[in-house]
Symmetry: C2
Subunit: 216 residues, 2 copies
Amino acid sequence: MADKFEGLSKEKRQRIINAGFEVFSQNDYRRASTDEIAARAGISKGLLFYYFHNKKSLYLYLFEYLKKMLIKLVVDERFMEITDFFEILEYSTQKKMEIWKKHPYFLDFAMRTYFSEKEDVSPFLKKTYKELEVVLYRQCFSHVDTYKFREGIDPFHVLKLLVWMSDGYLREVNMQGNGWDMEEIKKEYDGWIRMLRREAYKEEYWREEDKWESSK
Amino acid sequence: MADKFEGLSKEKRQRIINAGFEVFSQNDYRRASTDEIAARAGISKGLLFYYFHNKKSLYLYLFEYLKKMLIKLVVDERFMEITDFFEILEYSTQKKMEIWKKHPYFLDFAMRTYFSEKEDVSPFLKKTYKELEVVLYRQCFSHVDTYKFREGIDPFHVLKLLVWMSDGYLREVNMQGNGWDMEEIKKEYDGWIRMLRREAYKEEYWREEDKWESSK
DNA sequence: TGAAGATTGACCGACCTGGTCAATGGATGC
DNA sequence: GCATCCATTGACCAGGTCGGTCAATCTTCA
């Protein structure tokens, strides 16, 4: 399909892809203009259509790209080895952050695809997401050490809080730009995670530093 | 200005206002179309321009409306009386939620106005926000009981976590539609807040039920 | 020098935009 | 029945933007 496009230099390909993600992440499909994409990529509109025959195929290309990247970057072999609940979360938050740094518009784009309706392109997206969800959630948390949790603590609830927190955390990091006190925010976040771990786990599964810190 | 508009029935006025917030919250100013607003309000475009002479004044009307509502709904007399940090947060989260329920597009609209750039309407917004921020933050947290916090705990950090959490929480609630297990999510959220309170406050300022729960 | 591919941007017709306005409807008072 | 007044409509306008095209140029390299 986009064979011409694949032959490009990595840098140029990346520029175009980023421009696409940027514009499609900020407007819905209908209102995201190819003019703008071409401009932000620093190429002429003609060239954009030389690579992708039309808007729709450009969009679907980006969507496929996103899908591949997410699976490749998040669910790697290391990921599947981790059995500790908090380590999985920590690992995936870190991964998520790397992705965000490298592709700032990925997550917004993904959100928009997820909630798109009545667009030329929506039905295809809906179907794909159903499949993806299963892979990313069910399978990943199937081999978690649930015995470490205290009685009465539901890992699913803990997960939800962590998702809330990491969303907010990531947004904060993202706002600061390439931030001056990024390190501090990270430390802060880690502190809260340690607290949560102490709260949710039986004492024998706390980390060494947590025990020390808590008994001061 | 919009004197004709003020004479309308409450129901109709509300319909138009909601339509405006909806469309302006989903697209940036330039791309939000008056056609769509009129359609969603169930009136003709001509009538919309009969009430508001042009797009800009409609937009600014909505912005003023938002401002008044926020101040009226969030910063009431009760709010100013609270001195306990967690109570203030609880109160404002609850208020925020009420607003969200009543005006589902308020917050998105507000976010968009806050980040709008290079629009016909942006400079005015920027200025207004500077003023508003002072009122909503500085003044509100100036009379907080800081003595309740443990040594080494920075209330500002706690605040940040709470904002992260409540953002995620609110989004979750919002997603569920008029939700079936809204109550459960609320309970969950409250549980986490209690935990955080135990973590941040000196023991003598915990609530009764927290002490009991924690010493089980 | 020339052939092939990469790249441009002016250009097209279709559609959408904010905004207008003559025409209609319905209420009210006479 | 008629006249007045205002709310309301939607066809219409001129200007702009859209996805998409294409003849003309620029690059590359043999």
